[in-house]
Amino acid sequence: MNNMEKNRGNLLLEFFSEEIPARMQSNSEIQLQNLFVKSLTQRDIAFESFKTFSGPRHLSIIIKNIELEQKDLEIEKRGPRFDANQKAIDGFLKSNQLKKNEIIIKETNNGKFYFHSQMIKGKKTYEVLPDIINEIVNSFVWPKSQRWANTDLKWARPLRNIVLLLNNDVVKGKVEIGKNVFLNFTNFTFSHRYFDKKIVINKIENYEQLLEENFVILDRNKRLDKIINDTSSLLDKRKFKLVNDKFLIEEVVGLVEYPNILIGSISKEFMKLPREVLSTAMRVHQKYFSITDKENNLESKFLFVANSIKEKDRDFRVIEGNERVLKARLSDASYFFENDITNTFENWNEKLKNVLFYESLGSIHDKIIRMSNISKIFAKMFGVRLDLAKQAAILSKADLVSEMVTEFPELQGIMGGYYAKIKNEHEEVVKAISEHYKPKGVSDDLPETKLGSLLSIVDKIDTLVGFFSIDKKPTGSKDPFALRRNSFSIVQILINFKINLSLNELLEPSLKEYGCSSHSIKQNLIDFMIDKLKYVFSNKNNRMDVVNSVLNTKIVNDLPIKIISSRIDSISKFTKINDFKIFLANHKRINNILKSEKFSNDAELQINPKVFDTIEEENIYNLSNSFSKEIIKKSICEKSQDFLINYLIKMNEPISLFFDNVIVNHNDYDIKINRLNLLKNLHNSISKFSIFELIED
């Protein structure tokens, strides 16, 4: 055994509590490892590796090859210079309670100084562990936590036992969880509830296996694997498929200590319910998975993960019980569905008058009226029929007061679509209603249809503008109305459908609906949207500097989104071309000259062609003027973006010649100013296209 091994050992810490909410478990593992590593590092105790576990009741960490003793620590304190007066030296001795023979003189880079050095003997790890554990317990942050009995400590659920073993021995100590309330460190934990056995851990290396023998799989990945493997072996032979549900499976992993996959049946009578109703009733309330055949048709079966050990009789009972519960749930859902289809959109819309959208933003009914007004304006731009655009907006929120959506809010939109179909609404309207909440996040699918996209955008713009108009815009990390996500969705749709609308055109009708004429609110909205445009464009594999160069132009809020998009594409394409690189270099040179002259305004500057005394000046003058004209003519033509860049490239030679042959900083003030103005005007007209100086080489 070498020296390193002799001074090292393994450590086990386990927090055993009542059932911790599934959603908090993964993160608690990370937190435990971070806090532990931090505490050890602060105390200069090294270790080799660690492994963490989390489940409903057991949260633990094994640290391998941890040092059993802290390193000795030498603390050196510098005193006065060696030639300082006696008073200073005495002062140093006194304030540190030192004797004369306890200080020495040492040479440093700054000369000789008195020093006192002190060796602090490293403590045994087991001596400092109680402090560390107390530190961890007290710094732990749960998304939601509670006290219990007489404790002051807050934990996600009552903490009942703490295992602390070092080299297989219990570390002596305790954690204070309340006034005179302690948990002593122990060497035992508990089995699955079925056996409710106290389990003594004799060897850390057996910990995981020992618990598995007692039907607790500590490692959440192992539980996940078991669920996946057992599921596929059950389903494959019957040629079934599980409907993939990442969130649900992650949650279920946190609800069971020993997963037992079971399959139940759904009474045939319920299979006529909309598919989403079935799967939502199963998923949200019961945490059941849906099953389909190979062609993706829903089977009248459901799969669930029990927290039990396989046993035929019990499994049979458990399945039967779950089937009964689901039947009750689905009869409720059928009841809602039957009631809803006898109701009318008119009746629902009438009810929406009493449903508040937000204080001072009116009712949901007010919202659909605003949405329908805006839809009419945008309909043509989206290439949809005006009457359909209006109708989709008017019907879009009715389902919010339907019985089904009251019970299952996550079915909003989807139910509206079903009900619109039953009422024989136009199929585009049906589809638009059902998909208008999309995309729900940056990674969600966009609406498939034009009308759906229009409805989605109009809904979101109304929300965004409304909250901005009452000064409820997101601040810092606070975004209670999800306006950031909301505007991401708007931008994604705009870009994807190459919408020929500028930010101004997009926001103006909605601002008008709210009777909001504040210039600063509009500017805030535009800045907010530009920010999201930048994010979405750069996420589409565009260079950030190219994105910025276009979106930072002064007139960007008047530029149709599809032009912004194609301009970014064009510039990105050209960045690889040599001629364009030359243009960029020239442009940068112009920019540097102007920067050093501190031109502040962007106004058109007066240039006097009579002052020109070179052909190069005249050339630049003409180029600048003609580019100005071109950009006015072609700037908003999607296909002309390449043309405009080529136009810029054509300036390479004249600009180079200008720099080669013309001295800007001329002795004659008038000539100098005239030349600077010339460059400034050229720069101004180029900057209407893109702020090229932002593009990096």
């Binding site: 599934a22 006290r147 009995a149 659920r157 079925y194 019990r314 458990v318 019980g321 779950n322 009964r324």
Partner: protein, 295 residues
């Protein structure tokens, strides 16, 4: 053995189980309440004065909006809860609960029991706690809460509350799909035995009609205001206030609010202010009970 799992047998079994755990066996509070929690034995008692308080009782509860005219097999506007409140929360409270299930013929080892996160909050009582809903084979049969706050006041020491939904539990034990088919007394029908429906279906029908159609909202608005005024009056005299009668008025107001809600006459914007008014009554009553009204 139908006798052993009748509705009334489940109640008496739970009662004797919790009596054995040292609980005071109480009777229902004699007012309409939305949940067993409203009973002063829970709301006020967890705020003191005894550091140890253990009580168990059945409480009929009313949720006017859940009425379905006796036609829905799972929803009732009047139903029963069995409530256990123990302060401070004992270390083995989860096991005690599982033991109690055994006692009413539901052996946890024969089923899939799960503790699923479900935090509880009562906006009208200004009360909140953390806990679980307890699932037995996918059915929620109980609610388990560690009380953190009542009337906006920290509960110290923390109390644990267990609420058994008696109908659900009995339906599970009797393997019944319609609440009205529940065996109430374990006596054969021919010998005069009664089901839940025999006793309550008429009541559900009539009260659903009352809750949704017939209640006079003008009376109710007045009653709400009267209860609120009475509650304030009872707490007005800072030297001689009456906490229990004041809280009694708070419970009344809360139920009247639920009745108004069922009639759909409280708009969304008003809703919040009604809830706040009840909460203020609850808070003042709680403070009065603790003798802290003047602070």
């Amino acid at each position: 053995m139908s006798v052993n799992n009748s509705f009334q047998k489940i109640i008496t079994s739970l009662q004797s189980f919790w009596i054995d755990q040292g609980c005071v066996l109480l009777q229902p509070y004699d007012l309409e309440v939305g949940a067993g929690t409203f009973h002063p034995a829970t709301v006020l008692r967890v705020l003191g004065p005894d550091p140890i308080w253990k009580a168990a009782y059945v409480q009929p509860c009313r949720r006017p909006t859940d009425g379905r005219y006796g036609e829905n097999p799972n929803r009732l506007q009047h139903y029963y809860q069995f409530q256990v409140i123990i302060q401070p929360s004992p270390e083995d409270i989860q096991n005690l609960y599982l033991e109690s299930l055994k006692f009413i013929g539901l052996n946890p080892k024969d089923h899939d029991i799960r503790f699923v996160e479900d935090d509880w909050e009562s906006p009208t009582l200004g009360a909140s706690g953390l806990g679980w809903e307890i699932w037995c084979d996918g059915m929620e049969i109980s609610q388990f809460t560690y009380f953190q706050q009542v009337g906006g006041i920290e509960v110290k020491p923390v109390a644990s509350e267990i609420t058994y939904g008696l109908e659900r539990l009995a339906m599970f034990i009797q393997k019944i799909e319609n609440v009205y088919d529940l065996d109430w007394d374990g006596i054969d029908k021919k010998k005069g035995g009664k089901t839940y429906g025999d006793i309550f279906s008429q009541q559900e029908k009539e009260f659903s009609e009352y809750n949704f159609e017939k209640s006079q909202t003008s009376f109710l608005f007045k009653q709400f205001n009267d209860a609120e005024t009475e509650c304030k009056n009872l707490l007005d005299d800072k030297k001689n206030f009456l906490a229990l009668p004041a809280y009694h008025q708070c419970i009344k107001a809360s139920h009247i609010f639920n009745l108004l809600d069922a009639r759909g006459v409280i708009s969304v914007s008003e809703r919040q202010s009604y809830i706040l008014r009840v909460r203020n009554m609850a808070r003042s009553s709680c403070l009065a009970w603790m003798g802290k009204l003047n602070e």
